[in-house]
């Protein structure tokens, strides 16, 4: 079974986001870049399928050279090879542009299952996975918490939690699955794994290598345009509830929630 995992590099969740002076981007100076947490679930699930069915796990990343580090992390976890799609013309791509780059690299590979994270924790769009599936003409199963590939390796049954329900969905392969938190507990790369990863193949591809027209991607091809970034709306300074006893404090809080905030 051949499995592909799409990988994005994002600022670590601890990052304080600062808006750059241009008002359209963020300050990237002190950012610690990590593999998108939802993509880690994809890597782990891919490794588990490989352990059961055999085959190869290929990690496909898109972005600047630093993304190599995250691809190496996936290789150290156990993936077999990596591809980095890197080209200055890709800078500023929207979800659709990113998906076009990924799909162009994936279409010539053999695959049964493709994993992506359900969203990147940076732009929070959650569209790239579905767009890659659309471009490749395969079905998608989004926001998945459980994956069971049939013994014959021809179909898959998955669980998608929706509000108040868990849907059990079935699809034939090949399929693209977007990973939701709870799918699994990603393994840590072992020291031997890290050593081995250094020797695993990691290929770098430009748009020209993929036969892509640079005008299809990048800032200029954006169909969703960022006009401005801003800081979250400030909340007015809160009140600290005074009182001698827990009962007094609770009574005062309940009164304020009723009379002032009008939420109870």
């Amino acid at each position: 079974m051949n499995i592909i995992v799409c990988l994005k590099q994002v600022p670590d969740t601890e990052t304080q986001i600062k808006i750059a002076p241009d008002g359209q981007s963020i300050v990237t100076d002190d950012i610690k870049w990590v593999m998108n947490p939802y993509d880690e679930f994809g890597v782990e699930e891919a490794l588990r399928l490989k352990e059961k069915f055999g085959g190869e796990v290929t990690v496909v990343g898109l972005g600047p050279k630093r993304v190599t580090e995250s691809i190496r992390t996936a290789l150290a976890m156990g993936a077999d090879k990596g591809i980095l799609i890197s080209d200055d013309a890709l800078v500023g791509s929207d979800s659709l542009g990113t998906a076009k780059g990924l799909a162009a690299a994936i279409k010539d590979l053999e695959f049964d299952v493709i994993f992506t994270g359900q969203r990147g924790i940076d732009d929070d769009m959650g569209v790239v996975g579905a767009s890659v599936a659309e471009l490749l003409g395969i079905p998608q199963l989004s926001l998945i918490q459980k994956v069971e590939v049939a013994e014959d390796g021809k179909s898959v049954k998955v669980h998608r939690p929706v509000e108040g329900q868990n849907l059990v969905l079935e699809s034939s392969l090949p399929v693209l699955i977007t990973a939701q938190k709870g799918l699994n507990e990603p393994r840590y790369a072992s020291l031997p794994g890290i050593m081995k990863a250094k020797k695993k193949p990691l290929e770098e591809k430009t748009l020209a290598d993929l036969g892509m027209d640079p005008s299809q991607v990048g800032q200029g091809a954006r169909k969703q345009k960022i006009v401005a970034l801003s800081s979250p709306p400030e909340r007015a300074a809160g009140k600290i509830i005074e009182g001698e006893t827990p009962q007094e404090k609770a009574a005062e809080l309940a009164r304020l929630l009723h009379e002032e905030a009008k939420v109870i």
Binding site: S131, S142, L167, Q224, R235, G238, P246
Partner: protein, 330 residues
């Protein structure tokens, strides 16, 4: 501005024959945008035997409801919905296409935007019309920043609305939408995924993303058994219990209860944070709540910076006392 594209379209969401609340939120918002454009609102309702529910959408502001009635459209599947909606959108060329950022809406919008080859803005918290075009505001980095976005040579202008954010219009019983049967072709060969089972949550608890009130507990809860005091308060308030990542990682609460950057992003009317210090990832996930209450014994906990009302004290004393105190107002 595309002169040809006209009208605000809203994709309705139904489950088990009932229209979901998010639909009323998005229809209401669609009405406001359509008024600004001087255009009509059309709701698109897909399902099986669903037609009788259509006219009521008029009470919330839909002028027309385009109904696609077919057994293959119930329950929802990505393939069937994307096929039908993309066909009717291409045939009618609306200017704006909105839907809810529910789980279904997120699944649908991604694939649909790719099929239509349009730009899309996910999980928006505000919309406006500027110079005849849609401008959307959406939290990014889980709410650590906000992006204002527009659409470039891309019609329809497509976006999803975060649940619980857009106010619902007061239903006007005198209004009824014109119901139109959609014409569409749905090729069985295009339907590659199917729903084989639905596991219902027997607790009947409202999902965090849709809850009006949330009582959330963190590391300060000290163990899973102590969540009972939060359940009691939440039950009384008609709310849902949430948790911080620390509590979920400790195995005290299920994954589906996690609020934060790698969990659920919530916007209730009231968020009560108990024993949650307020890590940046958690604050990001609940920052759009309308009223935030923090109960924590550490007066320096960052959660107090976000809270409208803070109580410094032991949550094991305060929460039961609060449960008693709110009874007076319910």
């Amino acid at each position: 501005m595309n002169q040809m594209a006209q009208g605000v379209w809203v994709v309705a969401e139904e489950r088990d024959g009932e229209i979901r609340k998010i639909t009323y939120e998005v229809v209401s918002e669609g009405r406001r945008l359509a008024d600004a454009l001087g255009q009509e609102v059309t709701a698109v309702l897909l399902g099986s035997g669903i037609k009788e529910k259509a006219a009521d959408l008029g009470q919330y502001g839909a002028d027309k409801v385009l109904v696609a009635d077919d057994p293959r459209l119930d329950p929802y599947t990505t393939d069937a919905y994307v096929s039908v909606i993309s066909e009717v959108v291409k045939a009618n060329e609306p200017a704006v296409l909105l839907m809810g950022a529910s789980v279904q809406g997120k699944d649908l919008s991604g694939r649909l935007s790719a099929r239509l080859d349009v730009g899309m803005a996910q999980d928006c918290t505000a919309f406006e019309i500027r110079d005849g075009n849609l401008v959307a505001t959406r939290p990014i980095y889980a709410g650590k920043a906000y992006a204002t976005v527009t659409f470039e040579n891309s019609w329809p202008q497509m976006a999803t609305a975060r649940p619980n954010v857009m106010p619902v219009n007061e239903p006007d019983g005198s209004k009824s939408a014109e119901v139109i049967e959609a014409s569409f072709t749905l090729d069985d060969g295009a339907l590659k995924t199917k729903v084989v089972d639905v596991i219902r949550d027997a607790s009947g608890k409202v999902d965090l993303t849709e809850a009006e009130r949330i009582v959330s507990g963190g590391r300060g809860m000290k163990g899973p058994e102590n969540y009972e005091i939060l359940e009691k308060l939440a039950d009384l308030l008609g709310g849902t219990v949430g948790a911080s990542r620390a509590a979920v990682d400790a195995g005290w609460r299920p994954q589906t209860d996690q609020v934060g950057q790698t969990g659920k992003v919530v916007s209730p009317n009231l968020y009560v944070a108990c024993g949650i210090s307020g890590a940046i990832q958690h604050l990001a996930g609940m920052g759009t709540s309308k009223v935030i209450v923090a109960i924590n014994k550490d007066p320096d906990a960052p959660i107090f910076q976000k809270a409208d009302y803070g109580v410094v004290g032991d949550l094991f004393d305060i929460v039961p006392a609060l449960t008693e105190a709110v009874k007076k107002y319910l």
